[in-house]
């Protein structure tokens, strides 16, 4: 009799108290949640912290952890799946201790699928399928349309004007390495410029930061001169290795620019803060400057200091237009397809969201918007 009263009486401290197997986990973990009734949250006798007590079937209670007063949940780990556990929460206050009623039996279990991440799974599968589809198509050599980037016309004009002025052309990859995708894109832009230089017989200077990129540049230019059947004009000496130090490279380039006074300069690749010195010296000798980089932090300075700038992905589009290489072309087309989907989702959702606000009581629209919104929330 006494025991039952004790149980009922205890129940009055907590508004709610529950324990359950932690969802979407590898098992061995139970989560406890509780809420103290208002009247027990007095300032005169504030709660210091909560102590968590656990008991197995026949054994006594042991203290397994504690949580500061501002929390009302605890995750107990290291348990054995399928075994019954009982819990009790002690509310340690300044002057006394309140004990919750005993809850249980509860047992932990592992889940095979994290249901919270269903939206991530669906999108991951879509991305794999879309990219694989377009890369295979590009590999098979199918004609995939890529529009001509305005920057390519600017490149032609620049080479033409430099030739009229009878001044050489300078090309730089910046501080990129051969493993950077932007360096590979810059190589195909270089091959277009080299072909034009071969036709016009204009001298092409390429100072380099990385020896491997220099070797790739020499290869590309030699090939371009061959294609324009002017192998005699190709001068290996114009494609040199300067230094592998950021500002040393910038100072080296400045020296060449001031000495050779190029008519057109191409900054295509990955740049860091030295882009400032390079673009400024180029401007001081009156050269037409065309920049192209994926380095978001340097783009503002290139746009302000150069005549034309290829912004981020425009470089990949330019190189795909010039010399479509399956991996890059396939990825670009895959990205475009996904961008189209995102554009549709954004416009459609904007309309639905606006209607949901206007027709507050029309539950269907609100439910539809909740559904879309739910897909794009991280749980």
């Amino acid at each position: 009799m006494f025991l039952i009263i004790f149980l009922i009486f205890q129940n009055s401290y907590f508004q709610s108290i529950k324990g359950y197997d932690t969802p979407a986990d590898e098992g061995g973990s139970i989560t406890l949640e509780w809420k103290i009734k208002e009247e027990f949250l007095s300032d005169t006798n504030p709660i210091k912290f909560f102590e968590i007590y656990r008991k197995e079937k026949e054994k006594g209670f042991i203290n397994v952890g504690f949580v500061l007063s501002q929390y009302n949940a605890y995750e107990d780990k290291g348990l054995i799946d399928g075994k019954d556990y009982y819990y009790q929460i002690w509310v340690i206050r300044e002057r006394d201790t309140l004990k919750s009623e005993i809850i249980g039996p509860i047992y932990s279990s592992a889940q095979w699928f994290n249901t919270n991440r269903l939206n991530v799974l669906i999108i991951t599968i879509i991305l794999f399928v879309v990219f694989l589809y377009y890369i295979e198509k590009a590999k098979k050599g199918e004609k995939l349309f890529v529009r001509k980037i305005a920057g390519l016309d600017a490149i032609d004009d620049a080479v033409g004007r430099a030739t009229e002025m009878g001044r050489p052309i300078l090309f730089s990859f910046g501080l990129g390495f051969i493993t950077d995708v932007v360096t590979i894109a810059a190589l195909s832009i270089l091959s277009k410029i080299a072909k034009k230089c071969a036709e016009y017989g204009t001298r092409l200077l390429i100072p380099n930061y990385d020896p491997i990129v220099m070797a790739a540049a020499q290869e590309t230019v030699k090939e371009a001169y061959l294609e324009a059947n002017r192998p005699d004009l190709y001068k290996e000496g114009d494609i040199t290795y300067l230094t592998s130090d950021q500002f040393g490279y910038a100072a080296g380039c400045d020296g060449i620019i001031i000495r050779e006074k190029p008519g057109a300069i191409f900054w295509q690749g990955y740049f860091f803060a030295e882009s400032l010195i390079l673009a400024e010296t180029g401007h001081s000798v009156g050269a037409i400057q065309i920049a192209g980089t994926t380095a978001i932090t340097q783009l503002p300075f290139f746009i302000a200091a150069c005549d034309y700038t290829l912004i981020g992905e425009e470089m990949f589009a330019a190189s795909c237009y010039l010399k479509p290489e399956p991996h890059m072309l396939g990825s670009l087309k895959g990205e475009d397809f996904l961008k189209a989907i995102i554009l549709i989702v954004l416009t459609f959702s904007a309309i639905i969201a606006t209607l949901a606000v206007i027709f507050k009581d029309f539950t269907f629209i609100n439910k539809l918007f909740q559904f879309i919104n739910n897909i794009f929330t991280v749980k």
Binding site: D245, I311, T347
Partner: protein, 203 residues
């Protein structure tokens, strides 16, 4: 105390050696540059020893027991295999640990980009067009994406949206320009504060 004075003078000479680059590229700048490359390379070796090899391999090997102790041999071997890249003949072996780390990096990257960026960022753009800021935000994101869309010629409405996109992009780059200028100047202020305060004690 003496050490601090010597140190401050050493730091001041190195600072002026780097600043001398402003006058023109000179041997003092090159010297300071090479000291920096040498010292920072040395730093990395000390870090790898005291924060990777010692605590994660040696200490753990001593403290672990049973099967866990011998499993530790695998990452140790993979780590050492990485160093085979130093010798041209055996360099290809280093591709095995390299492939391991690149695979993990790529695997983590895919799910993180989707859960950590695409979903929340698209989710944050599902806004009702009920106030001017929401309208500009949604239109800004749409027109910027259209600007970087390469599968269709820019005609008609696409041309309009791409023009709108470049306006948003230029305002964004202008803002980054202003913030970057602010950042670069703060670095100079920090250095001059060092020269005026620590070295000369004027302020």
């Amino acid at each position: 105390m003496i050490l601090n004075i010597i140190g401050t003078w050493l730091a001041a000479t190195l600072t002026l050696a780097i600043f001398s680059f402003l006058y023109k590229d000179n041997p003092f700048y090159k010297l300071a540059e090479h000291i920096y490359v040498g010292v920072s390379a040395g730093f990395w070796v000390i870090y790898v020893w005291s924060f990777d090899i010692k605590p994660m391999l040696i200490d753990r090997f001593i403290s672990e027991t049973g099967i866990e102790k011998w499993i530790l041999i695998i990452p140790a071997i993979l780590g050492v295999l990485m160093l085979t890249r130093w010798f041209p003949r055996t360099a290809w072996i280093s591709r095995i640990p390299l492939a391991f780390t690149i695979g993990i990096g790529a695997g983590l990257g895919v799910t993180a980009s989707i859960q950590g960026f695409l979903i929340p960022q698209i989710g944050a753009t599902l806004l009702p067009l009920t106030n001017i800021n929401n309208i500009l935000l949604v239109i800004g994101v749409i027109s910027t994406i259209i600007y970087f869309y390469f599968s269709k010629e820019f005609k008609g409405s696409l041309k309009l949206f791409s023009r709108l996109g470049i306006i948003f992009i230029m305002i964004a780059f202008g803002a980054s320009f202003g913030y970057t200028v602010m950042a670069r100047i703060s670095l100079l202020i920090g250095r001059i504060y060092f020269l005026l305060h620590n070295l000369l004690g004027i302020i």
